[in-house]
Symmetry: C2
Subunit: 336 residues, 2 copies
């Protein structure tokens, strides 16, 4: 890893602890996008932010809140990790477009329009019928574009995703998924989606969550890195990066809640199954944040140059952060 | 008015409209502290912030959100008014100390510990028994000190106010009141309170709300300015300023709601009376934001120097903003 390069992971949802904050530092991770809401309403999301504020106050030598690309550079200088907030569902904005700016002010930088199911904004990838972006969805995308809250379609349906790419005036992201052609999970994305997102300047983050991997937990580093190389051949190196979906130290009750939220009283196995209902084991070569060097080495092995490995391991996300987290038309400071 | 001076009003609660934003500009008001919550919980307060966000978006040539003293300087340079948020009651933080930092992040810069009645934090000035700052109040003052949310005791009881001055590690404010010795309203403050607040570097803002004035609506500019001069003789010029409590264009239903909130089903006339239940008429010499020059001229007439008039009309508040709106121990940007 080039000493000037920044390492960024575009999705984690761990059972956070000082141990994991130290592992972020040990792994040289300068920024991480963390999920702070799946099904929470605004008040519940704010409780989660309060918990992060307490961690920022208690562990200032390890973590700091991230709001801009420059915060990633600052975190690297200070030897800590910048934590960027995001939502996997639009539940925090309830039915209220005014909350888009409020949550951005509180630090949210990514918001999925859906999490598997239909939302007020679009259709999730588990719905039988994808009716595309809704009336409110169109308004919210415009407002997200205005304030600098990135549209994330990781858990959305194909039609909704392609419509969101077209409707959004700024690039969108798939923070955590893989190509469906490599691993045919319902959550993985068609080449059409990957090309559309990248073609508009968006970013695609590769997941290491076993249900998104070929051969799941048994997936080899070589297979993963060849998949990255094939994706780079398809859309170029500049619009792909990492989004591991690491869910470290979580009890299985959490994945049950992630899948069910409050929408059903029945069991929803999601990407699991009755025989495998919990969190799957991570691949041996990526157990936690200290293993990013394995991924970087694997990418070099399949032929990426050192500069390309740096781009894939974080520099591409940093460019995306620089361009997409700020308000359009914000008042510049006058010189005088 | 010296051209380099900044004019600041430390309390207004108008029925806001483009007309009033223009009057702020016409009156040369570079910053105003506006009340955005009396009895609202967090979610309701956020709805009020959403309304302000819409105004900031729609009238960018007239107003901008203020968060720091430098925003006042920027507003002056740009020919607009910086709007600072505050609460007259701690209802927006509910029973949750974590909300202190959340509301500061959203822009709150002043919070009263009480509004007339007992709160979770302290006793209001209308309570028969003032039991002082509560257990939670002590914790919240410490947290307000940490993040840079100013303790405002304008509507608090005497004992609670004196205790808050002692407990607070940073200066506190009485944003809008007058000396009880001049006009013996329940809301006006004893010399002991004024001396205690000023003695710790705090600020006292003079109110033009008729119920706080000698002879109410008939109060003369000369009487008001002599009172300011007597206060300056008592505590010095550096810790006093304006806090007009202007409630322009409000229907009387609003003052009924301000007094009653949700605490009673009966009528509470507050500072009014059965024969005068609504908003009182403002004095002839201060009808709206265009009349600040009258006040400045009156202060000069009673003997304040031009520099002192500038201090009273805003420069003192600007110094207070500079010193008290930021987080203590915030991470400095490293030089490298």
């Amino acid at each position: 890893m080039n000493k000037s390069a920044h390492r960024i992971d575009a999705l984690q949802y761990n059972n956070w602890s000082p141990k994991i904050f130290e592992q972020l530092q040990q792994g040289g991770v300068h920024a991480v996008h963390v999920t702070i809401a799946y099904h929470e309403n605004l008040r519940e999301t704010i409780l989660n932010i309060e918990q992060w504020n307490l961690w920022f106050e208690r562990y200032p030598q390890l973590i700091m809140q991230g709001r801009t690309g420059d915060d990633v550079r600052l975190a690297k200088q200070l030897g800590k990790t910048a934590v960027f907030f995001g939502f996997q569902n639009p539940s925090p904005i309830e039915d209220d477009i005014g909350l888009v700016e409020i949550v951005h002010t509180l630090g949210a930088r990514f918001m999925q329009l859906t999490y598997n199911n239909q939302s007020l904004l679009a259709s999730g990838c588990y719905e039988a019928n994808d009716s595309g972006v809704t009336r409110m969805g169109k308004q919210v995308i415009k407002e997200m574009n205005r304030v600098g809250l990135v549209v994330d379609m990781s858990h959305s349906g194909e039609r909704s995703t392609l419509e969101a790419v077209d409707l959004s005036s700024r690039p969108i992201a798939i923070t955590h998924a893989n190509p469906h052609a490599w691993a045919p999970a319902l959550r993985n994305k068609s080449d059409a989606v990957i090309k559309a997102v990248a073609g508009r300047g968006g970013m695609f983050g590769f997941s290491l969550y076993p249900h998104h991997l070929k051969d799941k937990t048994e997936c080899t580093l070589e297979s993963f890195c060849h998949m990255v190389a094939r994706t780079a051949d398809m859309v170029g190196v500049a619009h792909i990066g990492m989004g591991t979906d690491l869910c470290q130290d979580q009890p299985d009750t959490v994945v049950e809640w992630m899948r069910k939220g409050r929408y059903t009283k029945e069991t929803d196995y999601g990407e699991g199954s009755p025989s495998n209902p919990g969190f799957p084991n991570m691949p041996a070569w990526f157990q936690d944040n200290r293993d990013f060097d394995n991924v970087a080495a694997g990418l070099a092995t399949v032929g990426f140059s050192p500069q390309e490995v740096d781009a894939l391991m974080g520099e591409n996300w940093l460019t995306f952060f620089d361009n997409n987290f700020g308000q359009i038309g914000a008042q510049p400071i006058p010189t005088s």
